[in-house]
Amino acid sequence: MDRTAGKVMSMREAVAAFVRDGDTVSLEGFTHLIPTAAGHEIIRQGRRNLTVVRMTADIVVDQMLAAGCVTRLVSSFVGNSSAGSLGELRRRIEHADPEPLEFEEYSHYGMVCRYLAGSQRLPFYPLRSYAGSDLPSVNPGIRKVASPYPAADGSTEQIYVVPPVNPDVTIVHAQRADRRGNTQIWGLTGIQAEAVYAAEKAVVVVEELVADEVVRSDPNRTLIPAHAVDAVVVCPRGAHPSFAQGYYDRDNAFYRSWSAISKDPARLREWLEEWVYGTAGHAEYVAKLGEEFWAGLAVGEALSEPVNYGRRL
């Protein structure tokens, strides 16, 4: 069986093949490597009734909400980083405007543990969070288990647990992959590997498709091995307005502008029309931003010192 057959595809093909109406879709990337271009393609293709799972529900989630793709959100932080509010999300939750949003609220480590349970095919994952919190009272997914090992004082110890999450599809952005899907990420690596392993299907969007030899020169850098990946999409600058370590910096100005854009539904609609519906795909979005713009996000060089893996003589 050829493990490379048909894995490399366009974003349009990948979203068409792997994201269906009603799916549970995980989009991960903790500030770094946010799969924005994939979110935009989901909007273009008009997916509906999605459950979106994302630790830090930020701009791309607000955009997907505004485009009417999402009925349910599972998250541990719903805010525009440290730069302001998510207008559409707040309207949906505070006023059910234009419709309610089902919201499942966790803490960050609760989400991490849900992905760990999902990736390891466990029925639950224990964590030392939530004792005394109101979160379990609004989230029936957060439960308690008694340890079968007595505590030091002989008592029975209780610990909170969270259930696994197994998305229908996980989409992550990464710096590079080979044609088989061996994916290398550096800088902040977040929860991407676990989110991929937890999913039925996984799409990896990369800045660069590289030769097998590049990946194989540093196998420890491969955080997502080929066997976990169903599609590889080459999409340079697909993480904008977030950043890709060593490729381009974060567009902080856009983050700061989002509060005002998203506060006004008409303005948000215009933004989607111009930048998502009005572009055929991410290459057009990138071109529309212009070379001068991208020059402003360019980064210099800080190369890792190579290590020797050795070769038998």
């Binding site: 770094h32 980083s81 609760g110 005394g132 919190s133």
Partner: protein, 261 residues
């Protein structure tokens, strides 16, 4: 900029005062879990003053940050390049934080109560809130696992220092114990606000006023607090930022005044 520049001789702003006061509290600590904003300023200033080799840990997975520029987020690219270690989220939350390696965690909140429990989820009812706030992030975990927690609050009002939280996102250890589980740390030990400093020793203890900033009275602080705030036997007056502290903060830590608004 040099010492003669008016920038470094004008009096401290409220942000500067908060940053300086918080930075001093880091003396002698080995690890600090810093959030973005004033906690970043405090941690970076401490690295230049009272805690020169402190390991600054960020929720994004950075351990031992040595940023070339002041980070604008907890995941800023400048925190990663040149860091001592960058770890995955399961390692950061599981081994570093829950494993008990953080001496001091910094948190902020929309509301805090006298026991140091925090609300960052909603104003109003959770089901249909009047304001939806970002939620926990990693705050639940920082509170449960850091040895102690410092809170920095720009605004000191009866609504933010609440007699009863609208929602308890992040419980202090007193609430955790009532739920039958003993957390690792003692919860909030210091709250630095625009008016002064509140302190709390640990389980069973409530926040008390221990210092007021220059020009602020005890009564002002009590009036700005939503519960009947106790005061320490003797309430100190915060030592104002020294010229050296201000110079470092303004020239080296945040020359672009990203947070020093």
């Amino acid at each position: 900029m040099n010492e003669q520049d008016p920038e470094t001789t004008r009096p401290a702003t409220s942000s500067e005062l908060l940053s300086v006061v918080a930075s001093r509290e880091l003396a002698g600590r080995r690890t600090v879990f810093a959030g973005i904003g004033l906690p970043t300023l405090a941690a970076e200033l401490a690295r230049l003053t009272v805690a020169r080799d402190i390991e600054v840990v960020y929720e994004s997975g950075v351990c031992g940050a040595h940023p070339s520029h002041l980070p604008e987020t907890i995941a800023d690219a400048v925190l990663i390049t040149g860091a001592e270690a960058v770890v995955s989220m399961p390692t950061l939350f599981g081994s570093v934080l829950q494993g008990g390696h953080i001496d001091v965690g910094f948190l902020g909140a929309a509301q805090i109560d006298r026991w140091g429990s925090l609300n960052t989820s909603v104003i109003g009812d959770w089901d249909r809130p009047s304001v939806r706030l970002p939620g926990s992030g990693g705050a639940v975990e920082v509170m449960a696992n850091a040895r102690e927690v410092f809170v920095v609050m720009r605004r000191h009002t009866p609504r933010s220092f609440a007699d009863a939280l609208d929602f308890c996102t992040t419980p202090g250890p007193d609430r955790a114990l009532a739920d039958g589980i003993r957390p690792l740390g003692v919860g909030v030990t210091r709250v630095v606000t625009e008016l002064g400093v509140l302190a709390r020793k640990g389980v069973g203890d409530e926040l008390r006023l221990v210092a007021v900033h220059p020009g602020v009275t005890v009564e002002q602080v009590r009036a700005a607090t939503g519960w009947d705030l106790r005061t320490a036997a003797s309430v100190a007056t915060t030592a104002p930022p020294t010229p050296a502290e201000l110079r470092l903060l303004r020239d080296d830590v945040d020359p672009d005044r990203v947070y020093l608004r």
